[in-house]
Symmetry: C2
Subunit: 156 residues, 2 copies
């Protein structure tokens, strides 16, 4: 992807048994996000998504002990049924966040026969942040979430 | 603009005797950028602008001693004749830059009678960067540039 891809990015690729439009629909329906967006026992208890370039995203995650993690971000690129790009570098258009941590690129590639190649890439501004994200359990976490997404998307 | 506007942003506002569409045209014509984008004796010797959300910008500034400062960035929001938003946080869509320094919001507000309110805002991720930008001469520099832009825009 770029010169610093190896040191600055993390990626999950998975082939799914669901058409791209259903995966995209599941991704962009805030009311259903609670069913798949977190690895259990964490859950999403509030989600607001203004899905357009410059639109805001707010996702509240709650842990088993009542911990709350609010996530603010904005969408940078929206290609229906194909691609979503968002970042936490802004809390709304174009207000800088306290700490730009990553940009996420989520791609849905139609493989035919109702199958989709799902690629989720996290791009970080620093090698340290990439490392921290990996140690926070990126591969396991995003993997669990991808599995949950696949199941929920089938119900759309 | 936001809670941290006072500590994180710098702004230049000027009323200009040129219609908004001419100012926008001057801003978005790379071949003419060398005539106004730098305070002299600095000059722009190369400019490439792919003016659309996610499009890349590359501007090479050269100083009187042959110093070269390449500027890479991307456009985040483009509203013809009204608004341009760009940042150095990405070198292309969506590759993180080495150091996200600022987001620039340039607005052209039609005041009627061929006059325009020109507002250029630099939003920084940290208070330190805002301070550094101010000490680098933001107000004088962007002021000179705004004056040069106004003159060049009249020739469009």
């Amino acid at each position: 992807m770029n010169a610093n891809a190896a040191t600055h990015s993390l990626q999950l690729v998975r082939e799914m048994d669901v058409p791209a439009d259903k995966l995209y629909k599941a991704w962009t329906t805030p009311e259903r996000m609670g069913e798949w967006f977190c690895p259990k026992p964490w859950k999403v208890t509030e989600a607001r998504m203004d899905i357009r370039p410059g639109g805001s995203s707010y996702i509240l995650m709650e842990g088993p002990e009542g911990e709350k993690i609010p996530n603010y971000g904005i969408y940078l690129e929206v290609v229906p049924n194909r691609k979503l790009v968002f970042t936490d570098a802004y809390t709304s258009a174009w207000v800088p966040s306290e700490k730009p941590f990553m940009t996420a690129v989520v791609e849905f590639e139609d493989l035919g026969n109702g199958r989709t190649k799902y690629t989720a890439t996290a791009l970080h501004w620093t090698e340290e942040d990439r490392k921290a994200h990996e140690e926070m359990g990126f591969h396991e976490g995003w993997g669990i979430v991808a599995g949950q997404l696949e199941e929920i998307a089938k119900t759309f």
